[in-house]
Symmetry: C2
Subunit: 509 residues, 2 copies
């Protein structure tokens, strides 16, 4: 591993300095967004949008600066660029690709998208609270219009508009390939849901009916995040309406969750999930902050880390054997009379439900599939925004056998589209698939993981992930990276295998 | 009142747009600082300094942009600039002055100051916690060195270096004039302190010995801030180690206080003080945000607003007659057995003490005088930073008859010098003097203020201040503004009169 400062090239040094300065602005912009979602005064939304839009313009100018582009073009011809899987080679290749992409986008469009999505998120908050789709519809229409225009400018010859956006989150992924894998996954999951529905020993979910005061949940969350390896020296945990993780610098990665006194898993699993994201960011190479070797490989790989800690670890039998007395002691009387077994079983209750972020591991991917299908249709123009709620409800009926009683628990539940994140949802299912493959590889390499979890030992797994995934940064295609670590190409079987191996005994199937 | 958009001049429109965009960056920078002081992860200080230094450079470039300077020069020759007390005229005159000042400062120096002060504040936090002056000394030395260099570049022909800095906080103020007024004030106050020390009915301070749980103090603070007129729609109240107020946009002015379970007035009066600052900012003209007509007139005028609400209102007899049952009910058993009279008297306990922010109204100005004298000596070179703690302790002995047992409660108590704020302290005493004059004028105009406070009616006073001070912005010299509102020039008598009129009956003098 080299440091960027050690690369013997003045051109590279200039590029490095330029990108690091851009990252100073991008991380500042991330703080403006973090603050917007943690406690911006009600009347301050308009000015915050102006701040973000302005910074977005400055950042875009820097990213399309012609002198910077010339340096990249020169570097691309140099020896440094030959091995595109090396840190330096990957940096040059990716920055050059980004430059090409950014120069295709006029600054007006970039700023229009920034503004529309900041205002869109503010409108979404209001619309969701008031269960008022009509209020949000014009914002969403505008956002899809603008991102379509962006996709038209970016799409490859013959490539779909949707893939042009998807590629920004998951380099190299194509909707055609995903559709095939997801179809296979869907068939397997629908069958499994059916088998579990008819099973003799279904979990009851009664553990989660115990109310736990939010103050105690906060304490549990802080404790478990630190316990699995999230560093509070280099991060913090806050509360918000839609949990997320954001990075404001090489030593400042923040996570946010939400607590419901009446539903413990919301805060607990929200924390495990976001801490998984946070530990990935904290495991990146700080020397390369802002450059590909110091960046996450993709959103799919990012999601593999969050889902791995949330589900593969946090809903395992071994985890609850260790964790149950620890949590029980922290929540006091709330969990009296419960056992590790009760909580473990309820953490694995599979049941069709309306809200993605609280869905179980099996049906979760069906929620994603619905969004993936709808956003592809919206981009291709075969569905209009105004008809999206109906399409949403129909698909819930079709895939999950239930219908949202209101848009609040239907199409208004997710922040993503209001934030312009189109092509983002499929990376969630990719994350599940990657996580399953990574856990199989981790077992092969580390041996008895359950034996470690039963003792509350998470460091070996985290260190393995740091070594194999985190410090690798974004030097390979995300698909290639996972394939290299796991020794096999992407398919649905590891995930299905994992789910069946865990759930069949729980349900007595 | 006009709106900046209505000014029929393309040059003015360009200047307006330029300054508004600069303000977007300055307010973003203010968020970086607010966040640093509310919960930045421990390891993230270095990168935060980089972000702030970078933004500081971009802002300085914008402020010294030659095209912008040419526009200002042209406008200065135009009819718009003739009446320098009009909103447009004052804007042109002040922006032109700022431009001239900024172009004298090389960007390296500006960025060096930014970096030194961010790191200085971080070092100060550590040094204060560890009571370790030696750790902080090199940071403070560097900061004074840099600000001296700045002052050398800015000082007027024959003017003192100190005044060059003072003018940035209090336009038109000169240390010579302040020294004379403060000397008069000092003599009066030293005499008053002595009389009160020998008085028959000294307050005991026992009310403040009641511990009040922080959760209840938070509730009280939120309530009282809103009750006197601070808007939470356009602000928020947080906690920090050194209370302050900061503005992040026309509708986002945040205040911060600190609670001590064992000392109620810390949080309560901290809140009243910062809410006073906050209401001033919230009373400025939003249309002119970032330009002189939408800016505070000076730090002295700013402090007049905070001290007015904290002391002239918040330590008045009438205030406590109304406020006592309201607070007593909110703090439950903690205040059982106390009366409005007890709390009022203890709120007016005059006693030499070590910590400025918790000093009473009388001795407070002696704390300021000490800082004013020391920083003038540091700037003129007649005192070295390494000798500052001794100078500090000597003066405390001399003016207040007490000596700090440690630097933590001595020279390390204030954040200001670590933040590069040299020439800032005297504005605190100016604020007290202005507040006394403003309250005399308010009484003349509004009649029986006590009658209003006894009923918890603060709106008439706030509206009067908004009209006479807030919406006036920074179109006049601060001294001229106060003189215009009050019909008399600055002197110490109104403050002395106010203190004697209140304290003599309390002490039975």
């Amino acid at each position: 591993m080299s440091k960027p400062q050690d690369v013997a090239s003045t051109d590279f040094a200039h590029v490095f300095a330029h990108v690091r300065d851009t990252a100073l602005l991008e991380s500042t912009s991330a703080l403006l967004e973090w603050d917007e979602r943690t406690g911006l005064p009600a009347a301050a939304g308009g000015y915050r949008a102006e701040q973000l839009t302005y910074l977005c313009g400055v950042i875009h100018q820097r990213k399309t600066d012609s002198r910077y582009g010339e340096l990249l073009a020169t570097l691309r011809q140099s020896d440094l660029a030959q091995d595109t899987t090396s840190q330096v080679g990957a940096t040059i290749a990716r920055l050059h690709k980004d430059f090409q992409r950014n120069t295709r986008l006029p600054i007006d469009l970039v700023q229009a998208i920034s503004k529309a999505t900041v205002l869109g998120q503010q409108a979404w908050e209001k619309a969701r609270a008031a269960n008022d789709w009509a209020y949000f519809q014009p914002y969403m229409t505008e956002i899809f219009l603008l991102r379509r225009r962006e996709a038209e400018l970016l799409a490859e010859e013959g490539g779909s508009l949707y893939d042009a956006l998807l590629d920004q989150y998951e380099e190299g992924a194509r909707s055609e390939q995903l559709t095939a894998i997801f179809a296979n996954l869907r068939d397997e999951l629908v069958r499994l849901v059916q088998e579990l529905a008819d099973a003799p020993h279904r979990p009851t979910g009664k553990s989660w009916e115990r109310a736990v005061p939010v103050a105690q949940q906060r304490e549990v969350s802080r404790w478990i995040a630190g316990r699995i390896g999230y560093s509070f020296e280099r991060g913090r945990l806050d509360e918000t309406s839609h949990p997320f993780c954001t990075t404001l610098g090489p030593d400042d990665c923040r996570i946010l969750t939400r607590y419901q006194a009446e539903f413990f898993p919301s805060g607990f699993y929200g924390t495990l999930h976001e801490a998984g994201h946070g530990m990935y960011e904290q495991g990146l190479l700080a020397d390369w902050y802002g450059l590909p070797p110091g960046m996450a490989a993709s959103l799919g790989v990012h999601e593999s880390q969050s889902r791995l800690w949330e589900n593969f670890v946090g809903r395992s039998h071994a985890f609850w054997k260790w964790c149950f007395p620890e949590v029980a002691q922290r929540v006091g009387s709330a969990w009296q009379g419960l056992s590790a077994e009760d909580v473990y079983r309820d953490a694995n209750l599979v049941e069709p439900s309306l809200v993605r972020v609280e869905a179980d591991e099996v049906t979760y991917n069906l929620h994603i599939l619905i969004r993936f299908e709808i956003e592809q249709q919206l981009m291709s123009g075969t569905l209009e925004v105004k008809d999206a709620p109906a399409a949403w409800n129909e698909r819930y009926q079709h895939y999950l056998g239930i219908q949202p009683p209101s848009d609040r628990d239907g199409i208004l539940q997710d922040v993503h589209w209001s934030a312009g994140l189109v092509g983002y949802f499929p990376t969630y299912s990719l994350g599940n698939l990657y996580a399953a493959q990574l856990m199989e590889a981790a077992s092969d390499r580390l041996g008895d993981l359950d034996g470690l979890f039963e003792k509350g030992e998470f460091q070996p797994l985290l260190e393995w992930l740091q070594q194999e995934v985190h410090v690798q940064g974004f030097c390979l295609h995300p698909g290639t990276l996972v394939e290299k670590v796991c020794g096999k190409s992407l398919d649905a079987q590891p995930l299905v295998r994992y789910l069946r191996r865990k759930l069949e005994p729980v349900y007595g199937v």
